[in-house]
């Protein structure tokens, strides 16, 4: 069954077609969400939300772009929503702690170890993930799509609905910012 037939069946709410879609693209969706969210639980949660939305709103997919591009867009938007909610919760917990309503101390999230990183790079990758987390949203998205999904500038531009040159500029800025953040980090450690 090709992609078009699969989507046509999915539009008719065919459960078997939905299962094939999930099993084909679950790795891609999960890996992207994991790169952006840096938490396995949040990535699983977001991946489920993505496929639930795909099932609900497949009729709005006009097939003007590739199905994977549409899927990436939903994943990125859901993951960024998740991040925003998490930050809001963090801020609320901080305010509560100021008023003494939250007895528990603010817990720093543990270092994130991506399961796909080689053993000898784990420590450095955890530091890099922490630095990536400090980047502006657009730079972070472009960097993660490029590095963890190995997407080309053109593919990233399609997902982010911008031009290749804009993506190139975003990635250049992301690299510069990361170098700056890492420099400050290592200087503090020294």
């Amino acid at each position: 069954m090709n992609e078009r037939e699969l989507i046509a069946l999915l539009k008719k709410k065919d459960r078997e077609a939905f299962k094939i879609v999930v099993e084909t693209w679950q790795g891609m969706v999960y890996n992207t969400a994991l790169g952006l969210l840096q938490s396995m639980e949040d990535a699983e949660d977001t991946a489920q939300e993505v496929f639930m939305q795909v099932y609900e709103s497949i009729s709005s997919f006009k097939e003007e772009s590739k199905f994977s591009t549409w899927l990436y867009r939903i994943t990125v938007s859901k993951a960024l929503d998740h991040l925003r909610k998490k930050k809001r919760k963090k801020r609320f917990a901080f305010i509560q702690s100021l008023y003494g309503k939250n007895d528990g101390q603010m817990i720093e999230p543990p270092d994130f170890f991506h399961p796909g990183i080689k053993m000898e790079n784990k420590e450095n990758a955890a530091i890099l993930f922490k630095a990536v987390d400090q980047l502006p949203v657009n730079q972070k998205t472009a960097f993660i799509l490029n590095k963890t999904e190995n997407l080309t500038y053109r593919e990233i531009a399609e997902i982010m609905e911008s031009s290749e040159s804009a993506v190139d500029a975003l990635l250049q800025r992301a690299k510069k910012n990361l170098q700056k953040i890492l420099k400050e980090y290592y200087q503090k450690l020294d």
Binding site: Y30, G116, N121
Partner: protein
């Protein structure tokens, strides 16, 4: 010193090279299906409950009973209103017959000794 930092930064920046793609835990689809079942909208739950034959029949019976009760209570209250009117008329007639009611202000004033 600067070189030392730059080496560290370069090493850290290249730690994403050859990264392998992560995949979710096994049985992802089963967990997704379970979540979709649990997250049926409230309206779906309500409509599926209301369209059950027993529930629909009970609702119709309830509506009929409420209507009957309203009709019965309104007819009973109108009957009691009619009764109270006729009683009042009788009292007035008796009072009138025995000249107990003053019909105007002049009579009312002159009844005083």
């Amino acid at each position: 010193m600067e070189k030392k930092f730059n080496d560290k930064i370069d090493k850290t920046m290249s730690s994403f090279d050859d990264i392998e793609k992560a995949s979710p835990r096994p049985f992802f689809f089963t967990r997704l299906e379970a979540r979709m079942e649990n997250q049926k909208s409230i309206w779906e739950v309500i409509s599926s409950f209301v369209t059950k034959p027993m529930v629909a029949f009970a609702c119709i019976c309830l509506v009929v009973i409420i209507n009957a009760a309203v009709i019965f209570s309104s007819s009973a209250s109108s009957a009691s209103t009619t009764n109270s009117f006729s009683q009042q008329n009788n009292e007035l007639a008796t009072a009138d017959e025995y000249n107990l009611v003053s019909s105007n202000f002049y009579e009312y004033v002159n009844t005083k000794p």
